[in-house]
């Protein structure tokens, strides 16, 4: 049904897709497996017409697809269910289906469309009520609304992009049932995921992508988990740094049974328990979206946990706000520079003082001590080698690497007892990456503890004294460095649990 040949796509200096071939026969569920940055989403965007490939051909149902946009793809019979739904919460299921659909008529044929929805619902086991308001539906149900939208518009090939990231296990099972029925009706499904277990369960064929290339292709029946994991993450790691063996010191941060439920009731963090000792780096790996962002926000104080406790140096800080935690010694480098850790429109000097502006020495009485601001800024710029026109330059004029240096200079420069670093090398060139890592290490040598959360596997494996993996809101068993290798990491990141010895809780 679908044949993609030689697809190439480059974003700036990075080759997102290198000569990828993909064939999907009719009536097949194909899994596209890969971690962050493997190129799987880019490939599907090319297929769906959201981006144009640099090279390669696509033939769908015998006809070539070139220079097409999503509208053309839909008309040809391709339906895409995005990770983030394109639904109007305030409207009903029927209204969402009718939106932009000529078939619905100028004067809405609500009754007719509702009947169509009910029929499709029955055929594919979707269990949808056309009159339900989308905002009231669970995420799994909303996903099924997207499915019915695609089906009713005549999709023969459905692309599901990480469809299970927000689903509970029974909802996942429901989705699989729907997928099987679609296949039985002669349609094909491409199931994009990083979760091994699910891919093996539902897909008949698996294609593995890594670094923009196809690294493996096999029938699900013949594949083993280890094979797939290796294909997914295996590559040479050059040791970024030589870390001396770590001797256990005093516990500085303790996290006990942290749970976070978001507004729709979905558990983003489940019973997270771990401890952090002075001078050590606890590195946490995992594919984006498995709860890491929530974990760091909760520990830093930007979000409140639903239940659980956090203690710093023996004092409980669970209900303390951001400022109090900062004063107590928790520094935080968030993932998002532009809207959280920096104000691009402010000067470098002001950004360096972003978190301490209402305390001495930056504050003197009722005034800001501008002299102190300048002094601190100059010393930090020199010490951390920030390339800029001066402390008065606006942050938005700096490169990404230099912007991150400001955040690092500010957060690490205060010698915190605990540093939370979330994706600290995101979007940075090798030089800037090196800088960040060096600073983190020097903090540890000085006795600081670091919680290093990143989806960069090399960094996690070489920096972490202890290493854990987050999947579906849970923290895996925590290993010492050297106890775990790439393949095992890949398995854990893809959801293959280690088994019964998780009571350990990571307190080693």
């Amino acid at each position: 049904m679908l044949e993609m040949r030689g697809i190439c796509k480059r974003y700036g200096t990075v080759q997102a897709n290198r000569n990828i071939d993909l064939t999907v026969p009719q009536g097949r569920i194909l899994g596209l497996l890969g971690e962050n940055g493997s190129g799987k989403t880019t490939l599907m965007k090319v297929l769906f017409g959201m981006v144009a490939a640099d090279a390669g051909t696509i033939i769908f149902k015998g006809r070539p697809l070139t220079d097409h946009r999503p509208g053309d793809a839909i008309a040809a019979g391709i339906g895409m269910i995005h990770q983030h739904f394109m639904l109007v919460d305030a409207m009903t299921v029927a209204e969402n289906v009718m939106l932009g659909w000529k078939r619905a008529g100028l004067w809405l044929h609500t009754r007719e469309i509702s009947q169509l929805i009910r029929n499709a619902s029955k055929t594919y086991g979707l269990d949808l009520d056309p009159n339900a308001v989308v905002g009231d539906l669970s995420l799994g149900q909303r996903q099924r609304v997207e499915v019915v939208k695609a089906i009713l518009r005549g999709a023969d090939l459905l692309i599901l992009d990480e469809p299970t990231s927000n689903l509970s296990p029974p909802e996942v099972a429901g989705l699989f049932l729907v997928m099987r029925r679609l296949r039985n009706e002669g349609r094909s499904v491409i199931f994009i995921s990083h979760k091994l277990g699910e891919v093996l369960e539902i897909c008949e064929e698996v294609v593995v992508l890594r670094d923009g290339e196809v690294t493996g292709q096999c029938l699900a029946a013949n594949a083993t988990r280890s094979d797939l994991a290796r294909m997914m993450v295996g590559r040479d790691i050059s040791a970024l740094v030589q870390r001396p063996a770590f001797e256990s010191r005093k516990e500085i941060l303790s996290v006990d049974r942290l749970t976070l439920r978001d507004r729709s009731g979905f558990e983003r963090l489940r019973d997270i328990t771990f401890s952090l000792n002075e001078g050590e780096i606890l590195a946490i790996a995992g594919v984006d979206g498995n709860g890491q962002a929530e974990l760091v926000d909760v520990i830093a104080g930007l979000k409140s946990a639903t239940s659980g406790r956090i203690s710093l140096a023996g004092q409980e800080i669970t209900s303390e706000d951001v400022r109090a935690r900062l004063t107590a010694g928790i520094a935080y480098i968030p993932a998002d520079r532009a809207t959280t850790s920096l104000v691009p429109g402010m000067t470098i000097e002001d950004n360096l003082g972003l978190r301490d502006f209402d305390r001495p020495p930056l504050r003197r009485g009722a005034w800001l001590n501008r002299v102190a601001f300048r002094r601190e800024a100059n010393s930090r710029i020199a010490k951390f080698g920030i390339l800029c026109a001066g402390p008065n330059a606006l942050v938005q004029t700096l490169s990404g690497g230099n912007q991150q240096k400001i955040v690092v200079a500010r957060e690490i420069g205060r010698r915190p007892s605990v540093l939370i670093a979330f994706q600290p090398t995101w979007g940075l060139d090798p030089g800037a990456t090196r800088f960040v890592i060096d600073e983190v290490l020097s903090l540890c040598h000085g006795g600081g503890a670091v919680l290093y959360v990143s989806s960069e596997l090399e960094e996690v494996l070489t920096l972490g004294d202890r290493i854990g993996v987050m999947f579906n809101g849970r923290l895996s068993r925590v290993f010492g460095r050297g106890e775990v290798d790439m393949t095992r990491m890949g398995l854990m990141m893809a959801g293959h649990d280690e088994g019964p010895d998780r009571e350990d809780g990571g307190k080693s």
Partner: protein, 361 residues
């Protein structure tokens, strides 16, 4: 490796989208000048439609504004309430609080000052005037707080809240003028003339220019210092930058909104006090008309920069002073000035929308 098919991290979007190297105050001035010029050019059209020569009209405008000592004094007096209310509105907007209630705050400020002037007239001038001004400021601050509280507690958007309170404030003036503070037997709703001890002294003897402009300048400088040189001001700048970074840096939205409305209301209230004590020497009906929206316009023209509010406010004041002369001499209605102001605002807003945003935050 990053998932490159996904959205580039937001920092990338920001820096590739709108990169201004060395954005300076000159750019803001250029933008303001451009908007004003464009507004004048466009406004020439209605002037021509009404059968007059735009160039003659603008010349009369200029002469009316700066042509004589009296004209200049008059223009400075007119500018004073504009500058005071606009600087308060500017910091409100900086904190993303849209306060358009200067008119109501000014009105109640005038009422409070009038009350003091009339009822505490036995005080010596040295005390009476400051007390009246302070009373005006307090009244205005309270008035602004009502809207702030409604927003905080009940989610009533401050645009609607301050707007409705504008109308109520103006009616309060009418109410007291027909009641306890009215002058019996006067043909026009007004209070009795204030005792001379309550009149604002003039800045330069022999001219009509009262000390109000000095107060306005002081307010501008003080607000500038407050905004750029205190932790309080720092917090306001953070609030205006976004919810995420404000939370990260520990700035509270609720406290910030209240504080900024108090200041803006206080300044507008003082402006109202200055009007009754320095221009009319009594409370008269309708003295607060039109100040609300002008304050917004001036604040925008100044790119929300406290110091720049001074020249922007002076511009508006001189513009209106000149417009009255223009109406007298050429017969072009003075309401033209609103057209210029409205157009200027729109042009500035468009430019801000496409990326010439205010520079240093």
């Amino acid at each position: 490796m990053r998932d490159l098919g996904a959205e580039p991290p937001p920092s990338e979007q920001q820096s590739t989208g709108r990169l201004f190297s060395d954005v300076g105050a000159w750019r803001a001035i250029l933008l303001a000048g451009l908007a004003v010029t464009l507004a004048f050019v466009v406004t020439a059209l209605p002037i021509m439609v009404s059968g007059r020569n735009p160039l003659l009209a603008y010349w009369a405008l200029l002469r009316g504004a700066v042509g004589s000592v009296d004209a200049v004094a008059f223009a400075f007096n007119k500018s004073t309430p504009y500058v005071l209310s606009a600087v308060g509105v500017a910091i409100c907007f900086r904190a993303r609080v849209i306060n358009i209630g200067s008119e109501g705050q000014l009105a109640v400020g005038g009422v409070a000052a009038s009350w003091i002037a009339l009822h505490l007239s036995q005080l010596p001038s040295l005390l009476l005037i400051p007390v009246s001004l302070v009373a005006g400021g307090v009244a205005g601050a309270v008035w602004a707080c009502i809207a702030a509280v409604m927003r905080i507690k009940r989610g009533v958007h401050e645009v609607l809240g301050t707007l409705m309170l504008n109308f109520v404030g103006t009616l309060v003036v009418s109410e007291v003028l027909h009641g306890t503070m009215g002058e019996p037997g006067a043909g026009f709703p007004q209070s009795p003339l204030f005792p001379q001890s309550a009149w604002l002294p003039s800045l330069f003897p022999g001219t009509d220019m009262h000390v109000g402009i000095a107060i306005a300048v002081a307010a501008v400088v003080a607000t500038h210092r407050l905004f750029w040189h205190t932790p309080f001001g720092f917090r306001l700048r953070l609030l205006g930058s976004g919810d995420n970074v404000a939370a990260y840096a520990g700035a509270s939205l609720v406290r910030g909104m209240l504080q900024v409305m108090l200041i803006a209301g206080g300044l507008a209230g003082i402006a109202g006090a200055i009007e009754v004590l320095g221009v009319h020497y009594r409370l008269i009906e309708g003295f607060s008309q039109g100040f609300g929206f002008n304050a917004v316009a001036i604040a925008l023209l100044a790119a929300l920069n406290p110091l720049a509010v001074l020249p922007a406010g002076l511009f508006f004041g001189f513009l209106e002073a000149g417009a009255l002369a223009m109406q007298r001499e050429i017969g072009v209605p003075s309401s033209l000035v609103f057209v210029i102001q409205g157009l200027t605002m729109i042009f500035v807003l468009c430019a801000m929308g496409v990326g010439f945003k205010q520079q240093r935050i």
